[in-house]
Every structure is written in structure tokens, then in C-alpha cells.
Symmetry: C2
Subunit: 416 residues, 2 copies
């Protein structure tokens, strides 16, 4: 069979998605498979076992990312990477990230069935801690692969219970020895559910991602002083919780100011200590982020948050300082690679929709070191990071077939 | 020796306070002896052991309050109760509550040394969970003693880790069998550090508490919906954390509106779920309270908080409901008993200062069922619920001597 006639096996593909949905069950059909927890370990074990059954060589790097390699005719050429992430949010869905990794597996199985060995090797990748829900910030492992973060810094990320990412990797047996990044990659493809409503509303199954929303994230520490909730005069109060709350409101207000142009601002996390009835808190932390399609507007939103800090601090008579900042997005995906997705879709008779990505994705970091492109697939009403995240086999399969054709074209192309 | 010449032993008294300060050490000299934790158990064991050495009969009631009884000449008469609490806040001091219980112990030891048996029995009491820091609301056990709360309701109070107050009493061996309240009490005296700066500033060691600030507390539950922090449009967001933050800011603003007349409003606690980077929270809880010397102003402040709920809920597009409300204070202490404190101070040549109490105290609930009075003793700069809470032996002893004389007068008086 000519490689252009190759199609994935929809049932086999969907069976793997359904098997994944059994591991780390959360609320009402959702998943709670936070990075490096027992469910994440179980899913990794299942994935590795599938990869080995497919004849792939599995390596794990020092930040726990899993690479499953299918040898190429010329195995000395840089590999084509295909993947995403298998971890979820605390209240996550069954598809976010997952369909991207399992699409890679299905592509390899399809090539195996056809006996087609590509010129370049293909590697399926599962990036560690994409969500960052347990260990902020998100996309830590792909960031390290792209040399944005150091391995030591990634290992030092901390969960609420004090556990570090490095120690948890060790505990679940996924602290590998492979060097993180530092090797040539021919191309990176990532298929992901849209996490927005456009494809679903348009009745189109394949989204071509043109670029990522620019995002700026901040972690802010607030310092006050404990005192009695009763007698202590308002004038003397230095309640860190009040400072944190004022900052969260300011962030939300900034989101509303930019809502008309599609901007978003999120107060995602507030932790205070001691955070108990009867006492003022002397410490708090806020994690927030801002996002905008226009990088300049995103930068202005981030600057507005920074400027809101002194006002919130003064009103609550506390100190605030930014202890961490991160940013991503704005990446321009590779023109040739995006073109190969369009060509594959056209050859398969699939309608496509051009879309920006509003979420964070490992692809943003990969775009810094190799040609990168993303396919979006539909999710119902755009609902995600929620147990009601939903899609069907038949709305995912067209995207995976497009991905298969684009990967084949890339991996088989002539040249070095 | 005539009983009017009796004085406590300052060194012996202070030794017990210093021993207590070794149990449950917190930050930099403070205590972290939350109700029904291991340190609370250890302190209870130490207290019971001291009481037994002093020949007292110890009973524990069904909500864990400890009563140490010294028999009277006519032991059928209702007892005079003296006490406070041995638990602390998460970041608590070494004196709050503690000096009141240990003052009771020192009084008994002084009477033992003098061989003076009072006409009525005297009972020292340690009320369970006065702080409410681990199991809100505060003063749960004295509330049950005064029949404001049922025993079952007290047992069902829950800590952050899910443990219930009843199960934790059982675990540390202090779920007693004695009925909670339901018996006549002749009078209740409570000595407590002021938790305000007045006595310290005036250089006076004995405060006569005239009444308690009226306090209203609320626990509010906020319900939203999880969604992705990136693509989800501002118009659709139902971030429970933002609703909770807006409520906390509204509460703080109400405090400032009443600050000129000494009112206070506290956003004490905010918990959100999942409260993670990358996702909107679908649940949050806020505990807040308002306090004012004037009960009508306190009620107006509480009403202002209730009215702030719909605005905060609308702005964040979430639901809010009050799941619990409590109130205390405004209690008018017993005129005769307050008079006996003034008389004792005068006889000892101690200057006194009349003060309202701005904090919550077990005495408020006791005032509902028996004549009640409170003595305040100084604390440096009024700092409390903080590891820097500080006072000295010599500024506490005058209050304890006044307490001794007042308790003696009450316990020895004629009549039924």
C-alpha cells in the first residue's frame, strides 16, 4: 500500500484513550492524574508497555520525559518527535494532552502494520509535568529540553506537601539517566484538543495552529504579620490574606479590561498561612497569569499586574514581591511544517480552520529548537480542565490521520 | 493567716507557665499547640498531673473540657469555676488562655499551703478548643457547656485534614463521660491577657472587663466551575477563588468603614479548590468576622457583609451562600462579681483600668448560665496570636492575687 493511503485504526486508537481514562479516575468521568503521583506512574507504565509491544526503544531523561523510538532507515538522522503529555490537572479531562501522545503510538502501530520503515527515526514523547498543577510552572520538562530551564531547577520544583519534583521522579522510578535535550531534532509535531469552542462550533475536525497566545505568569509572595482578629486595630493590621485577595481582584479586573480583545487574566492560586479563624495571616502566595493574542497587549497586561502590586500591598499594609515569572507563547510555528499539515489535510479531503492556541503547550518550547507545528482537534463546547471535557472517536480520528501523513512526509523526505 | 493576707507564690506560678511554654514550641519562642494535637495532649497530661498532685479530683466531659475539683466544706453547694484554655493558635503565644488556667492551679496550691478549705468547692477548668483555629468556630466547648451548641454538633466540627473533633478527642484520650453542663455553677472567673495595648500603655497590671465586643462570624461557601486558565473567555469564567477574594476585600473595606469607632472586620481564612496554576477553581470557603463595641454597629457590620455577598458573587459569576453563622460578646458581666474584683484590687492597693474585651472568650458563654467576671492582665504592645506575644511574671502576679481574693470571697460567702 502506498504510504499516502495509510490510515490509522480508529478502534485501536480509541481503545488506548479509553484505557487511559481508567487510570486516575477523578470526579464524574474526569481524570485526576497529577504529575508523578501513583496514577501518573501507572499510566507511564502502561504507555511504556504499549511502546515496547510496538517494538520501540524506550529511554527516560533526567526530568522523567519518556521517549519511545522507532528506528529509521538512516538511523543516524535526527528524529521526528511526536507527542504531548499524559498528566492531567487535579480536575482534568480524559483527552487534554493524552490524545496527542496516544496519536503518536497509533501512528507507529499503523506503520508497523504496513511494514513501512521511515527514512528518519520517529520518537513518541510524553513530557513530564506539562500541566504544572502539582509542580508549577507548567511545561517544565519541555522547557528543560529546550534549555530554558536547568535540570536542577526542574528537580527543585515543589508540591504543596513539600515533595520535590526530583524526589517524586525517583520515588515513582522515572528519574532517567538520558541527557535532557542537547541533541538535534528534525521536527516536533503535537496534536492536542483545542481547549476552546471554535472547531466544535464550526463543525470542523482539524485545526491548524498558527501561533500561541502570549502568556506571562507570576508567583507573588505576600508578607504580613499575625495578630488577633479581635482587638488588633485596623490601622495596625498587616493581613497577608487581605493583600493576596486584593491582588487577585486586581488581576481579575485587568482580565476584564482586556476581555473585548480576547485577553484573559487568571488568579489561579492563593495560599495563606496560618489561614485560620481568629488570627491574621502573615504569609500568602498568589499564582496568576495573563494571556493575549497580541504579544504587546500581553506585555501590557503583565505590566499592569506588576503595577497593581504596590497598591494592593499598601491597602493591606503588607509587603509583596514577585518571586518567579515565566512566559511562553507568541511562537511562530514553522512555515514548512504548518504547510505539510495543510497539504495532508487537503489530500485527505479534510476541512481545516486556522487557530491561535490560547493555552500553554510543550510545542512552544520545542519551537525554540526545531521546526514545530500543532494540530488542534475538537472538544465539546471548548470545556477543558473540567471533568466534563468531552469528545468522540470520530472527531479525533481525522486529525490523527492528518498527523500520520504529515509525519510520514517529514520523516521520509530526502536530504540530511 | 487570715485569708485576706493570702498571696500566691510568684515563682511557683511562673514555673508552670514556663513549663507550658516548652510544650508545642512554635516559631521563635511562640507556641503552636492546636486543639487536640499531640502537644495539646501532652499539655493536658501535664495539667492533669499537676492537679492530681494538688489533691484535686479530675473529670473530663464529653467535649473534652477538664474540671479539677477542690472539695468545699459544704460540697453540695455549686462550685466556683476558675479557668480559661490551654490550646493556642497555629502561630500562638505562651500566655493567651494559659495564664488563666494556671492562675487557677496556683490559687488552689496557695489554699492548700494555707490549709484553707473554702465553703464552696472550687473547680479549675480547661475549655477544649477555645481558639477554634483547628476546628472553627472558637469557644465550642464552653458554648456546649452553656447549651448553645449540642454535643453532637461539637463532635462533628472538622479540621482541614478531615479529622473530626470527636474522633480527635477519642484519639488523644480526652473524650470524657461527664455530662456537658447541665449543673448549677455558683460563679465563673476568667483571667486572661488583654490582647490589646491599653494596660501595657497605662502601666496598670489589673484590667476589669466590663463587657465583650459584639462579634459576628460567618463561614461562606463559594461555588463556581473549573475551566482552563487560558482559552476560557472572561465572560464565561466562574472562578470561585475570584469570588472569595472579592468577598475578602469587601470584608476588609467594611472594617475600614468602622475603624474610626473601633470596629474591626477580618478575612481570616480562604481555601479554594483545586487552587492550582492553569485551572479556575470551582469551590472556595471564606471565614470572616466583624466586631464592634456597640452591638448595633456590630449587627450593621454583619449585615453589610451579608449584603456584600451578592455583589461579589455577581462580579465573579459564582454562587455564594452562608453555611454557618455565630456570634458572641455583648455580655454584661455580673455586677456583684465585677464589684468583688474591684474590692479585691482595692484591698491589695492595685490600680485597675476598666476595659471592654475585644476578643472572644469562654466567659461570654458562661455569662449566660452563671454570674461571670473577667480580669485582664497586660501583654506587651497588645501583640497576641503571634510568637512575639510577651509579658513578665511581675505584670501577671497582681492580677492572680486579685483573682485569688475574689474567688475566696465568693467561695466563702454565706448563703446557699
Amino acid at each position: 500500500m502506498s504510504s499516502s493511503r495509510l490510515r490509522i485504526d480508529p478502534d485501536r486508537f480509541w481503545m488506548t484513550v479509553e484505557r487511559s481514562a481508567e487510570i486516575g479516575a477523578g470526579r464524574e468521568g474526569g481524570l485526576s492524574r497529577m504529575a508523578l503521583t501513583e496514577p501518573d506512574r501507572e499510566m507511564r507504565d502502561q504507555f511504556v508497555s504499549w511502546c515496547r509491544e510496538a517494538g520501540l526503544e524506550v529511554t527516560v531523561d533526567q526530568v522523567g520525559s519518556i521517549f519511545a523510538r522507532r528506528r529509521g532507515q538512516d538511523d543516524s538522522l535526527p528524529p521526528v518527535l511526536v507527542g504531548s503529555h499524559l498528566d492531567t490537572q487535579f480536575n482534568g479531562g480524559r483527552f487534554d494532552g493524552i490524545v496527542g501522545v496516544l496519536a503518536g503510538l497509533e501512528i507507529v502501530r499503523t506503520l508497523n502494520d504496513a511494514g513501512h520503515v521511515t527514512r528518519r527515526p520517529i520518537e513518541i514523547v510524553n513530557w513530564t509535568n506539562e500541566e504544572g498543577g502539582r509542580f508549577p510552572p507548567p511545561m517544565t520538562a519541555s522547557g528543560a529540553f529546550a534549555d530554558v530551564y536547568s535540570v536542577d531547577w526542574v528537580h527543585a520544583r515543589q508540591a504543596d506537601d513539600g515533595a520535590t519534583l526530583g524526589a517524586e521522579l525517583e520515588r515513582i522510578g522515572y528519574r532517567g539517566v538520558a541527557e535532557v535535550g542537547g541533541r538535534p531534532v528534525d521536527a516536533y509535531f503535537e496534536l492536542h484538543i483545542e481547549q476552546g469552542p471554535e472547531l466544535d462550533a464550526a463543525g470542523i475536525d482539524v485545526g491548524i495552529v498558527t501561533h500561541g497566545y502570549k502568556s506571562h505568569g507570576l508567583r507573588v509572595e505576600i508578607t504580613g504579620e499575625t495578630a488577633h482578629a479581635g482587638p488588633w486595630p485596623m490601622e495596625k493590621r498587616r493581613n497577608a490574606l487581605v493583600g493576596a485577595a486584593r491582588l487577585c481582584v486586581a488581576v481579575d479586573d485587568i482580565g476584564w479590561r482586556y476581555a473585548a480583545t480576547g485577553g484573559k487574566a487568571t488568579a489561579a492560586r492563593l495560599v495563606a498561612w496560618p489561614n485560620k479563624a481568629g488570627i491574621l495571616s502573615d504569609w500568602a502566595e498568589v499564582i496568576c497569569d495573563v494571556r493575549h493574542d497580541d504579544p504587546e497587549s500581553a506585555a501590557a497586561m503583565a505590566e499592569a499586574v506588576r503595577k497593581a502590586l504596590p497598591d494592593a500591598a499598601t491597602a493591606a499594609q503588607v509587603e509583596m514581591r514577585i518571586v518567579e515569572e515565566w512566559e511562553w507563547g507568541g511562537a511562530i510555528f514553522d512555515e514548512a511544517l504548518v504547510g505539510s499539515l495543510r497539504n495532508a489535510a487537503a489530500a485527505l479531503g479534510q476541512r481545516t480552520l486556522d487557530l491561535p492556541s490560547q493555552a500553554g503547550h510543550d510545542a512552544y518550547f520545542l519551537a525554540r529548537i526545531c521546526p514545530t507545528a500543532m494540530i488542534f482537534t475538537p472538544c465539546r463546547d471548548g470545556i477543558t480542565h473540567n471533568n466534563n471535557e468531552f469528545t468522540t472517536r470520530d472527531r479525533q480520528v481525522p486529525g490523527v490521520d492528518v498527523l500520520l501523513q504529515a509525519v510520514l512526509a517529514r520523516a521520509d523526505r530526502a536530504g540530511p
